[in-house]
Symmetry: C2
């Protein structure tokens, strides 16, 4: 299975491409923004394609042609300006969804935020709310498509080393999760078609990642 990783140069993305390349049944195509980001992925033996999420849908569609799945793990994150939040986390995500449709790619894995419900928007403070709104509408857009989607809602991301163990369910208690473990959750999700049409929150836990995903 060939996987377009959108946001490959992000912190989750780098782990993810590495794990995909180590996996015999998967291969990665890393979508990156700048030529100088390519060497990391080339060293892993991954194909690269240079597209900016502010480019038009056609550019992203070209990147998605010929792959079997798209993982959207790009994100300006909650710490960039809200201009990039709306252009990348919302519009970049929707353009990627449309590109997957246009390229005939059915499988789509979205890395969302822990809680993107209406309640979470209303509860967010004013600096975080724009980010939650952006992720809310991106998730909503994906739910309205005919794609074989999975939406992963990770807890508070940390750069701690992966533990290989998580808790995953439709709703779990808030908690931290290493980015490395989120990348492993994505791989386990791509390998298990019963995750299609589901969405789950993921935090650090006690189950092996494969077991946690397979039991969803």
């Amino acid at each position: 299975m060939k996987v377009l990783v959108v946001g490959a140069n992000g912190q989750i993305g780098k782990h993810l491409v590495s794990f995909i390349q180590e996996n015999d049944s998967l291969e990665a195509k890393a979508m990156i923004r700048k030529e100088e980001q390519a060497s990391y992925f080339e060293n892993l033996g991954a194909e690269t394609t240079i597209v900016d999420l502010e480019d038009d849908i056609e550019s992203i569609t070209k990147a998605a042609e010929g792959v079997d799945a798209v993982v959207f793990t790009a994100g300006s994150g909650p710490n960039t300006g809200p201009d990039k939040t709306i252009l990348i986390d919302l519009d970049g995500a929707v353009k990627t969804i449309k590109a997957a449709e246009a390229a005939g790619v059915k499988r789509f894995v979205m890395i969302s935020s822990f809680d993107t419900t209406r309640e979470a928007i209303q509860a967010a403070n004013s600096s975080f709310a724009p980010y939650v709104v952006a992720k809310h509408y991106a998730d909503e857009w994906l739910r309205g498509t005919a794609l074989e989607y999975t939406i992963i809602h990770p807890g508070r991301l940390s750069n701690d080393e992966g533990t290989g163990k998580v808790e995953a369910a439709e709703t779990v208690e808030r908690g931290k999760v290493p980015r490395e473990d989120v990348a492993s959750v994505i791989v386990a999700t791509l390998e298990n078609d019963s995750t299609i049409g589901k969405e789950y929150q993921v935090v650090g836990g006690t189950k092996s990642i494969k077991e946690a995903i397979d039991s969803l």
Copy 2:
């Protein structure tokens, strides 16, 4: 016909409430953010209701209960920060749409931006693009509902005195239009049910507003 004007204290909103109150078959309920904004509307004999578009849907729903139409003419505009753009122009609009549905109000008139197409997003410069994205998704959301909607796309807004004359069509050449004339276009739209399901661009022109809207 009782009309909830969302964004009544805005520059179009103030003209609109005034025109509605002058019209024998219409009456306005002005949705405003602050108590101190009420007197202008009370002097026009209009009902007021105090709701912030950052409040929850239930608060907006209460404001919409018992009215026959909702006009969304709120907007942070292109000159506020993009945090408010996403919270008001996108999420505030969608919350108002959901509130209309929850309150059983069928008629909805959206004051959009001149061009909210995908092409306009891609063509916009980086400071204007977040605003176009927000309006794009608000319009898209409305199109996906069962509401009896009209989407009005005014040209570059000016504070010039109204001329009573516009050009209105699905697409027209870019141009200016006085806010006062946009308010008159909204009234003509509310009075003509054949505008339901339509959207049109509006700029200054040579046809009387009623004629321009009735011939759409």
